[in-house]
Each structure stands twice: as structure tokens, then as C-alpha cells.
């Protein structure tokens, strides 16, 4: 099985503080990798370095073998890497449907073709299908800002999926979501994963969510990987327990 994402020796410091200290791992095609760790372990910084939001001080990132270290997020996205955000990031004034069309439109054609082509960039049907998949059809033309928190989380995920990405990085998807919606979200993510054979990387705090969703788990503490393996083994790993309790 080929590696969709390869991170080699990634390092990132802010002033005197080393947030990520030589992290290396691979993400294989079709797996759902969870990255967990106590607060301040460097998960978000790692994510942002992989996604081009921050420039790493050392190390390399490769997507499908292509070096992508320090690439701008928009270029990375066009290579097939999508993400969701910890703090909600939908476009409140656009309708749900428009949010989704926007999420896919930059992957079709050139800037010029977008100007003179159809108003929905040919994505109207795809958007409707995605809305149906996430069971948001009754809200299709509502401004995204009016949706509940949980619904916006679903929309966030839907937007990340619109372009049919190779790799989706989910940043704390369960954060702040109530139990019912959480179940629905997890179920939809698993359904999408099964249907499209997508590859996910998930940063998460909530252990139950990670255990139920992920096929493999990495544990980060103080900027380094301290454990790796199947979810059940990780939960029993003494080093992991210490890292969490120690904080």
C-alpha cells in the first residue's frame, strides 16, 4: 500500500520553544490515522506545517511522493489535500449550497473559464448530492451562518470533500458537538470513507471518537511521537497514559 503522506523529521520552533521536534510518520492509502496527545503536544502545529499554513524550520513533507514542504495551502489543496478546521470556518453569508459550490469551483478549469462559464461552475448537481449525503437538504438555500454548530461542522466536512480529495485532514472534528450529532458525524465520515476509499488524518481530543473512527493512532507529546499502533493498544500503553496524566 502506497504512502499518500510522508512526513520526515519535521521541526518547528517559535522563538525558544520547539513545538514539533523531529516528527516522522507515513499515512497509507485508505487508512484513518488518528493523532492524539495532550494539550501543547504540537498536534496543531504539526498539522499547520503539513498544510502550508506555517513554514517548518526543518524536515520534509511529501504528498504522493511529491515534495510539498512550505507550499501554499491553495496549491496543496489542488494536489488533492483537504482540511477541516477546529474553529468553524464556513462562509456565513453564502448559502449552504453556495458554500459547497465554492469548495469545488477552484478545481475546475482555469480562472478565465470560471469567469465566462456557468454561474455554478457546473457543480450544482454535485453540491446537491453532497448536501443529500450529509442530510442537510432542507437547509440547502439557508445562509450558512444560520446553521447550528453541529450542522456547520457537517458543512465543514462536506466542503472538504467536495473536490474529491486524496487526503483529508480533520482538525478536532468532534470539538463542541453534542452526542447525537457526534454519532451522525462519525457515521457520515465512515460512510464517505467506505464509499470513496478516502484517506483521513484526524487530530482529536475525544478518545471515544478516535477509538471508534480510526484504524491506527499516533501519540504526540512535547513535539515527539511517543507511541503508535492500533487504538486499543494505545489506550493501554503506559507511556501514553503517563503523558496524559502528567499534564
Amino acid at each position: 500500500m502506497s504512502a499518500v503522506l510522508q512526513v520526515s523529521n519535521l521541526r518547528k520552533s517559535f522563538g525558544g520553544i520547539t513545538a514539533v521536534d523531529g516528527v516522522s510518520f507515513e499515512v497509507r492509502e485508505g487508512e484513518i490515522l488518528g493523532i492524539i496527545g495532550p494539550n501543547g503536544s504540537g498536534k496543531s502545529t504539526l498539522f499547520n506545517c503539513v498544510l502550508g499554513q506555517l513554514s517548518p524550520n526543518g524536515g520534509e513533507v511529501r504528498v504522493d511522493g511529491k515534495p510539498t514542504t512550505g507550499m501554499r495551502p491553495c496549491d496543496l489543496n489542488r494536489l488533492g489535500v483537504s482540511r477541516t478546521f477546529q474553529l468553524l470556518q464556513v462562509f456565513p453569508q453564502l448559502s449552504v449550497r453556495d458554500n459547497l459550490i465554492l469548495a469545488g469551483q477552484e478545481h475546475r478549469g482555469t480562472m478565465l473559464s470560471r469567469l465566462i462559464g456557468r454561474a455554478d461552475a457546473g457543480l450544482g448537481d454535485a453540491a446537491d448530492q453532497m448536501i443529500a449525503f450529509f442530510r442537510l437538504s432542507h437547509l440547502s438555500s439557508a445562509p450558512a451562518g444560520l446553521l447550528s454548530y453541529g450542522q456547520q461542522k457537517l458543512l465543514d466536512a462536506a466542503m472538504a470533500f467536495m473536490a474529491g480529495p486524496r487526503l483529508v485532514l480533520l482538525d478536532e472534528p468532534a470539538g463542541g458537538v453534542n452526542l447525537t450529532m457526534l454519532g451522525h458525524l462519525r457515521e457520515r465520515l465512515q460512510a464517505y470513507h467506505a464509499e470513496r476509499k478516502a484517506t483521513f488524518v484526524v487530530i482529536e481530543h475525544q478518545m471515544e471518537f478516535v477509538m471508534a473512527l480510526c484504524t491506527r493512532v499516533l501519540v504526540l507529546a512535547e513535539g515527539r511521537i511517543i507511541a503508535e499502533g492500533a487504538p486499543r493498544d494505545i489506550a493501554r500503553n503506559p507511556a501514553v497514559i503517563e503523558a496524559y496524566l502528567g499534564h
Binding site: P73, F85, M111, R114, L115
Partner: protein, 317 residues
Amino acid sequence: MKWLAAGAAAAAAIFALIAPLLLKPFGIYLISMWAVLTIAALGLNLTLGYAGQVSLAQGAFVGIGAYTVALLTPVGCPFALAFLAAGALCFAVGWVLGYPALRVQHHYLAFVTLAFSTLVFLVLRNEEWLTGGIYGINGVARPSFFGWSTFKALNFYYFSLGMLAVLAAATWWMLRSPWGRAFVALRENPVRALSLGLDTRRYTLMAFAIGSSLGGMAGALYAPLVQFIEPVSFTLGLSFNLLLMVIVGGSGYFFGPFVGALIAVLLPEWMRVAQGYYLIVYAMLVMVMMAFCPSGILGLLERALKAFAPRGKEAAP
């Protein structure tokens, strides 16, 4: 609410067509000025209201457009060609200016356009051999099209109004396309937009270049309107004026520039009594507005209408 907006626009359009028949020549001159300035403000609205960048050079682009027409038409260039040349030149200059400035954050475009504005003024003033220097260019001719002359005030007004309608329609069409969606994304949440593959730099640059191009086209109409142009008309003062127009009207609203330009053209007339104070009042109005309602007059209107209109369907949790 959409019907209300459409109705208001229709009423305004009818008014714009009929009003000049009731006005004296100076009045017709004023509303012609309104039409021309609205085009420039439309362009600046693209840059500021849609792409979120401050440009202090829109006045300079109007000047470049005006001088382009004033220099090309006397040597036999047909007006239409000179008009397009003005637009194209300003698009190119805007692209060249914006490309390096937008690679950095921190509103560097504001400073670059500030510097550019001053530079343009210096060139217009010093290169007498080309621009007539301080003395400007006199006798800019009003164009004729297939025998219909725009020399008469009324004719020129309908010509400007027509051009405004065409350019506004083109801008509307652009904003209805995926580009419009991209601009909203750019303005609302550039980080998210980037993560969706949207090249924020390219779209911002495009908005600025097109906005500057519209400024040039406004200038191309300004020259035959006033028939005498000089460097002093195109300094930072004009850029500030256009900026305030867009803000007061409502930046990011399509019809904001129309409203803002109207106020900018009428305010000095209303304040004839206190000639020097009109700018002070204008500036204070903008500052107060920024503190309470940064979305301008149209923003205020939208808020008021939302308060009185029946509540829309709430999304079920």
C-alpha cells in the same frame, strides 16, 4: 426584500433618465459627473469592498485614463479606441503595482498606491512636453458616434449614463459568476478560502487590476466631460474622495458606489454656505460611520429593513 431593492433600482433608473430634462445646464453637468465618478467608485468598490484592499491610487488611474484620451483623440484616434486603451493601460499598471505589493500582508497596497499616486502627479506635472505640465490640456473634444454628437450637455449625459449602465452590467455579470463567489470568500474568510484551493492572491490582484481599469475608463469619460484637465485634479484628494464615496455608500454593496457618488457630488453643493467645511463634515461623517456602521448607508438600510421585515425561516437545530 429583493423586490424592494429591484423596485428602488427601477425607480432610480427612471429618475436618472427623466431628471436631466428638468435641469439647467449646471445640473446636467453635475449628474454627468455623478455618472462618471460612479464608474470610478464601482472600480474601487471591487478593490475595497470585494477584495478588502485599500487603494489610494484610484484618482491617479482616473488621471491616467483622462490624459490617455486627451492625448490620443486629437491625433486622430477614435474615441472608442482611446477609451479601451485607457482601460487596458490602467489594468496593466494595476497588475504591475499589485503583484509585488500583494505578496506581503500588512496592507502594503495602501502604501504602494499612496506612493504611486504622488509619483503620477509628479510625472503629470513635470513632463510638460507630453502632458502640458501645470497648464494641463485644453479643449478635449466630446466624441461623436455615427453622426450623433455628445457635444450638447444633455447628449453627453445620456452617453455617460449609457456607459455607466454597460460597465455596471458587466461588473454585475462578473460578480454573478464563480468569481463573485470567490470574492465573497476572499473577504469573509481568506484562510478558509485558501484551504479550498482558492488562490487569494490571484483573485485580489485581479480585483485590483479590474478596479483600476474601471478608474481609467472613468477618466476617459471625465476628460471630455470637463474638457480641460490638469494634474491638480488627480492628486490624492480625488483618491480620498473616491474612497470616502465607496465607504459612505456602503463598501461591498453593489449599489454602494451609486449612493456614495451622489452624496459626494451633491454635498459640496448643499454646503455652499460653508464652502471650506464640507470636507471636514464629510470626514467626520465617515469616522462616525466607521464606529457605528462600517457598512455604510446601504448597510444601515439593510439593517433597518431586517428589523422591520418579518423574520426569515430559522434553520431547525
